[in-house]
């Protein structure tokens, strides 16, 4: 036997492709040639493999070795090809060809001494392998955790190449671990405690209420206020009132983090909804995703979670304008020569900004030192169409005012109750309608994303409420689009209260979240 075939996987955007590593030993000058479009990392494997095999006590064959990564016409990336290639070389020379090679896949990076290192993309690869019907996989022990969100997968964890090779030749037994995806409630509870509770934010009940509505219906929210009033503090607590990730969502989020190479920094598998708060110096590529083979950016890393942009006008305008299309479509297409990757980005957008450069415009206790032209210039850094895409707008007042009031406000638990009620109402309503499934098969329709026709059908105010809305149209000069936006917010408010009908109090509260005039909104006086 001088050839072997070992299975592994390769990433191609969000998709995973099954790759077979074919090794052939032939007579000739000792050399190793690697074909099948390997990138630099994969090409460098050659040197790692040689040392790793020798240092594991095996003989590196003194033959002309050809390794082909099939299919040969797609680019291969990542250090996880080390293990399958090493196994392939040993299998070709030592004639170990147990049946397991035909059904099992291998992933893992090798050290020169033969030990197996963690690979960042493991979660995405394992998910892909499982989808392709591979149920056995050899992987670095450190990556075992990545597999824990996948159902029914037989994992053979190893810390050293020797263990894998010995297992294959029958001299050693790696005890396989059968994974079961089970949500780890304890881990989740643990995560939640370090964020902080909404009850710690005092005197900002209006802003909290707005956050509750945006969590319940996935509306976007813009907060305006002077510095130091707790805008960031409020936003950072929103994960505490979001429902837990669904099983499919966990897989999706885990996969995205894994592809982005962020799986070790984030908990993998994802235990909670992502909360991403990129600094305003972020480049456009880091925001939407990029690179020669495009990786997910902050938008996609916030998928199923929250994207918080603090100090909005400080972001580059180009970066912000790039968000418009993804906000609308909830996915982003990254096209490069030879690739087109589509990454999902379905998140709640929360932005915060000062009303003027000095921050005190309209503040009762400080004097604003900005001129009108200066203020306009500052505001114009954020384009109108961008703010228009945000459903809800709320002003956050100064702390001095709020500090006077010692009263304990709503806690995360109380707010969460309303959020869950609203989500349940939405699910029932939209699933009954036969809709609600997105392309990934996950349920995720919500009030904020209703189309104009759906808004017409589901958000129908009656009697007094309709009368009120009609008046509002003329008083505030709402456009049809703004009116629909108000209706969707009113729908969410009604859902939070568990009411199937949209009452006038829901409509009038919804109207209070319109864009204020000093932020370029319409009527405000």
């Amino acid at each position: 036997m001088t050839t072997s075939k070992v299975l592994t996987a390769s990433l191609c955007g969000l998709d995973v492709e099954l790759v077979s590593v074919e090794t052939d030993l032939s007579q000739g000058l000792p050399a190793l040639s690697l074909v099948g479009l390997p990138n630099l990392t994969v090409r460098e494997s050659k040197d790692r493999i040689r040392s790793a095999i020798t240092n594991s006590g095996f003989r590196f064959p003194m033959n002309r070795i050809t390794i082909n990564l099939s299919p040969a016409d797609t680019r291969k990336e990542g250090s996880h090809f080390d293990l399958p290639m090493a196994v392939g070389i040993v299998a070709a020379s030592d004639s170990i060809a147990p049946d397991v090679l035909r059904t099992a896949a291998f992933i893992g990076e090798l050290s020169l001494d033969g030990s197996l290192n963690r690979t960042e993309m493991a979660a995405a690869l394992l998910l892909g392998l499982r989808e392709k019907g591979i149920k056995k996989v050899f992987l670095p022990e450190e990556n075992l955790n990545d597999a824990s969100c996948i159902d029914d997968m037989e994992c053979f964890p190893a810390t050293h190449l020797k263990q894998v090779l010995d297992h294959l030749s029958g001299e050693w037994d790696i005890v396989p671990i059968l994974t079961r995806s089970e949500k780890n409630g304890a881990a989740q509870a643990l995560m939640r405690t370090d964020i902080g509770d909404f009850s710690e934010v005092k005197g900002q009940e209006r802003a909290k209420r707005a956050l509750q509505i945006c969590a319940a219906g996935r509306h976007g929210l813009a907060m305006y206020g002077p510095p130091g009033t707790g805008k960031s503090m409020l936003a950072s607590r929103i994960p505490t009132i979001l429902p837990e990730l669904e099983k499919d969502e966990i897989l999706e989020v885990t996969k995205l983090y894994s592809i982005a190479g962020e799986s070790s920094r984030a908990k993998c598998p994802a235990a909670e909804r992502p909360f991403r708060a990129p600094h305003h110096s972020i480049t456009a590529a880091a925001m939407v995703g990029g690179g020669r083979q495009p990786k997910p950016g902050e938008l996609s890393l916030a998928h199923r979670g929250v994207l918080f942009l603090d100090e909005l006008p400080e972001f580059e305008r180009r970066t912000l304008d790039m968000l418009r299309q993804p906000l609308e479509d909830e996915y982003i297409d990254l096209s490069r020569v030879g690739y087109r990757n589509r990454y999902p980005c379905r998140f709640i957008l929360i932005v915060a900004m000062n009303p003027c450069p000095c921050g005190y415009y309209g503040d009762p206790s400080h004097t604003c030192t900005c001129g009108e032209a200066q203020r306009q210039r500052y505001l114009s850094k954020v384009s109108g169409p961008f703010l228009d895409r945000i459903d809800m707008h709320v002003r956050v007042a100064g702390v001095e005012y709020a500090a006077l009031q010692g009263a304990e406000g709503a806690s995360s638990e109380e707010l969460m109750e309303g959020v869950l009620r609203a989500r349940k109402m939405q699910r029932r309503r939209y699933v009954e309608d036969g809709g609600g499934q997105d392309e990934s098969g996950t349920f995720d329709i919500c009030n904020a994303r209703l189309t104009p026709e759906q808004t017409e059908r589901y958000c129908r105010p009656e009697g007094e409420a309709e009368e009120l809305l009609r008046k509002a149209y003329s008083v505030y000069g709402f456009s049809a689009r703004q009116g629909k936006k108000m209706l969707r917010i009113a729908r969410t408010i009604a859902d939070i209260e568990g009411s199937e009908n949209i009452e006038s109090s829901h409509v009038s509260e919804a109207i209070s979240y319109r864009r204020p005039s000093e932020m370029g909104g319409g009527y405000d006086a």
Partner: protein, 288 residues
């Protein structure tokens, strides 16, 4: 661009030259105009103030001009940035007429940001200047045009003015011309109110109620209280809280009335739709 020869003007010899202006010390020899000249025969009040206005000033200028315009007065101002702009805006909001007196040629829009305002004024208002077209604004032309603003008006209201504000010159002219001067009082710790407060000290009438000018001029005002009667109990409580406490935000209102924030926000919207209150930069104020 209009050519010089095409721009209309009136001289004191003309019938349509405003009578009030004829009586002042040095009436302009020529008044170039664009728009509705007949406005000059109607009673007018000047509303002027500082270029750098606060939110309070904005509210005051808009409310005052709107009210007077609704009661049939012509609002005269200088189309400068800040209070002047708000005065014109308020008058237009009240579906009234407004006259802008410029310190440059009437074909020049200064400041440029008022291009849209200029167009709305021209729709059924009037723009005046004593300077021939194409005259650029200088620091001397503005004080001189202030005498025309006060000269056209029965009374002059100064909304906000710092110590060196040009509006103080308008007040001075008005006093010289024997017209009543009103000043909107302000907090004593605010730069932009010192000028106004000092005017009051010097004998100007403080504008305690917006309607003061109307009362003094003997203009009949319709009662505006009617709307309040149609309010429900909780709307009335919210309205009273806003009226009695002045600048509030939704959180404060909720605390004062004991309602939840969502209830309070909803009530404010209803009161707003009924035209009783309004948001001014995040704070809820009585609309008037």
């Amino acid at each position: 661009m209009t050519r010089k020869s095409e721009v209309a003007f009136v001289t004191p010899r003309d019938e349509s030259y405003p009578a009030l202006l004829r009586n002042i010390e040095n009436p302009p020899k020529k008044l170039y105009y664009e728009g509705e000249l007949s406005l000059l025969s109607r009673p007018a009040v000047a509303v002027v103030g500082a270029r750098k206005a606060t939110e309070y000033g904005r509210w005051a200028a808009i409310s005052i001009a709107k009210r007077y315009a609704e009661c049939g007065l012509v609002v005269v101002s200088g189309m400068a940035a800040g209070i002047d702009t708000f005065a014109h805006t308020g008058a237009l909001e009240g579906n009234g007429s407004t006259v802008a007196v410029l310190g440059c040629g009437i074909d020049i829009c200064y400041p440029r940001s008022n291009l849209r305002l200029r167009e709305s004024i021209l729709q059924n208002g009037l723009i005046l200047s004593e300077y021939p077209p194409e005259t650029q604004p200088t620091r001397f032309t503005f004080p001189a045009r202030n005498r025309i603003i006060s000269g056209l008006s029965l009374a002059t209201v100064i909304v906000e003015a710092g110590l060196s504000s040009g509006s103080l010159i308008t007040a001075e002219w008005a006093a010289k011309q024997g017209r009543e001067v009103y000043a909107v009082p302000g907090n004593i710790n605010r730069q932009v109110s010192i000028g106004c407060n000092k005017l009051i000290y010097d004998g100007a009438r403080p504008l305690v109620f917006i309607d003061d000018v109307l009362t003094d001029l003997g203009i009949k005002t319709e009662a505006r209280r009617e709307d309040v009667r149609g309010l429900s109990e909780e709307e009335r409580i919210a309205f009273d809280a806003i009226r009695d406490n002045g600048e509030l935000n939704v959180d404060d209102l909720a605390l004062l009335t004991g309602n939840s924030v969502q209830k309070s926000a909803a009530l404010v919207t209803i009161l707003e739709i009924k035209g009783l209150v309004g948001y001014y930069s995040g704070k809820i104020l009585i609309a008037k």
